[in-house]
Amino acid sequence: MVESVNNTPILLVNGRIIDPANGIDQNGSLLLENGRVSRLFFGKKLSAPRGTRKFDVGGKWVIPGLIDMHVHLREPGEEYKETIASGTRAAAAGGFTAVACMPNTKPFNDSWAVTAQILSKARNCSAKVYPVGAISKFGRGETLAEYGEMKEAGVVAISDDGCPVENSQLMRRALEYSSHFKLLVISHSEEKTLSHLGVMNEGYQSTRLGLRGIPRVAEEIMIYRDLSLAEYTGQPIHIAHVSTRESVSLIRRAKERGCKITAETAPHYFTLTDEAVDSYDTMAKMNPPLRSPDDIAAIKEGLADGTLDVIATDHAPHSTLDKDLEFDLAANGIIGLETAVPLALNLVREGTIDATRFVELLSSNPARLLGVEGGTLRVGGPADVVVIDPDKDFVYTEDQVVSKSKNSPFLDWHMRGKAVLTIKDGEITYSDS
């Protein structure tokens, strides 16, 4: 839904401008011209150029466009679930101006050619697309993919997301070799011999439902390995979708002793527990699985104290063909781009984080970790901006889902707060009207 306005200047008047990178959190106005942030005004009467589109955003937040560093766009290969076009439309509707897409497409994004194909499809889409390349060829965990060529083609990080790197030697070599190309290694940390055949969190609920459990240690052991390798090699590593208390604790202690480890979690890991699986609801099936209230508490502490750096959605579109099945056979994952803002705003409302931290977690930090533009409203930077109405009430119904797939456990939830205007490079990509 790119509403082309041919670089018409846009003026956002009297919003709460929050830009942690520049220490700003005050009411003001923002002028966007020629795809760039051109001026910030605080309390001054301003004169905008002729033909400027003016939006009164009183009572709303004006913040850097959100950046989701963990999505699955399914193209190439599984366009029946999502395309780059539909996924970026969902991103814009959720307030995101950029997404980093994981390599588990068909074919796997383990070469410059696939990267180039993704980027050519991403042109003129509703959000910037930053491909994440594979750690290993075919995601098989055996040999290194060609990081140099992929970097040149446009990847911003590497990961074998969905196919965890089991071979520790390969992970070590990936950390070492990627350093030459300044590519962040993102680890889906999972010890597969422990999670083997599991379909939900191991605990009372898995026993009650007779479903095979995934013990929390499957995640924690691999995070411990990954941070040990990061420390040993002196290279940074980023841990994807953290879901347990002990994972948060391991990362916190590693950071305290100076390990270059960063980490993300997803909104469902601080919103839902394994009780959501209750009647074999496949919308509650994901990997890592939904855990316990105690894990939720730890993840919130981690988001508040800086242990966790990023909220990413792990947007994982699946059609009814993959989800309307026996629980054991259903695919892992849920869509998340359109529900991240209200779910993360719950953390602000309950006092877990403040608005500044919200912007860091969803915009500034992912920009910094991936080394991409955005994440700030500095004058001269790209006009990637989102206006959030923190009090807008809505019910998230299937009809409004923008993503091509509707696999969300949050359907029919009463939500509060959403993106009402998303602007990418000075063009409106989403407007809630």
Binding site: H196, L197, E202, G203, Y204, S206, T207, R208, L209, G210, L211, R212, G213, S279, Y280, D324, L325, E326, F327, D328, L329
Partner: protein, 310 residues
Amino acid sequence: MDSEYRFIHKHILSLEDLSVADIELILQTADSLKEISTRSIKKVPTLRGKTVISLFFEPSTRTRLSFEIAAKRMSADTFNISVALSSTTKGESLIDTAKNLAAMKPDVIIFRHSCSGSPRLLSKHIKASVINAGDGTHEHPSQGLLDLMTVREKKGDINGLRVAIIGDIAHSRVAHSNIIGFSKMGAEVVVCGPKTLLPAAVERLGAKVAATVEDAVSGADVVMTLRIQHERQKDPLLPSLREYANYFGITPKIMKKAKPDAIIMHPGPINRGVELDPELADGKQSVIIDQVTNGVAVRMALLYLIMGGD
């Protein structure tokens, strides 16, 4: 029975779903229907004109035959669909199978499947009643009910009994239904098995975990052993069946710890000499064959009640 009470269940998916009053009614109904199987003409017209389909995605001899006999003794028309002949081998989804079966207007589907929760999925897509005949490692409600019936028959009352369940608790849907059923009816349920075969948080289902088989069996009124299902195990769970038999098998020596009038149960099929000493399986404490007889009565009661009998 409370005059307010009505049996409201359309499907029998788990014992978790059933109240104490539901279970009481099922057991009373089964007690009264049991007599039909002792007649020379073993048939009543109660379910004449009703269509009962058995849809089994896992092998079964006993359960399937038991349901079929139950349905036939009540004059229902019965049909069997086995995995090999089913359209799922052509790649049809369970929901499509359900829709196609529904189009032929059956009244009851007896359903067994290796995926836990699949009877619930089926029930959402079909008008017929669904009876779970065993789903994955979740539940096997008719087995749980026939076990309750057998214990009640032998002991009079379930409330206050001590029931020891020994063996592979983690992979046994029978154990799962029995833990729920017996604790719901007021028994003390104690489980024991190698730690590799105990599911997470089993205490919250209502069972106590005993440290040793001797502890579990001590003072028990009922000792239930479970089949070691080596076909389902892809984990390193046990070193050998021989070692299992040595440390967890029920032997005459261990049975001395139980009450003198304790009964021995097994859902079958038995691995003789592994989980249960052959002498005990055929001994006077064994009620294993009574369990099978009662299975028919319980299944008659379930068919009768879900089709609105009163």
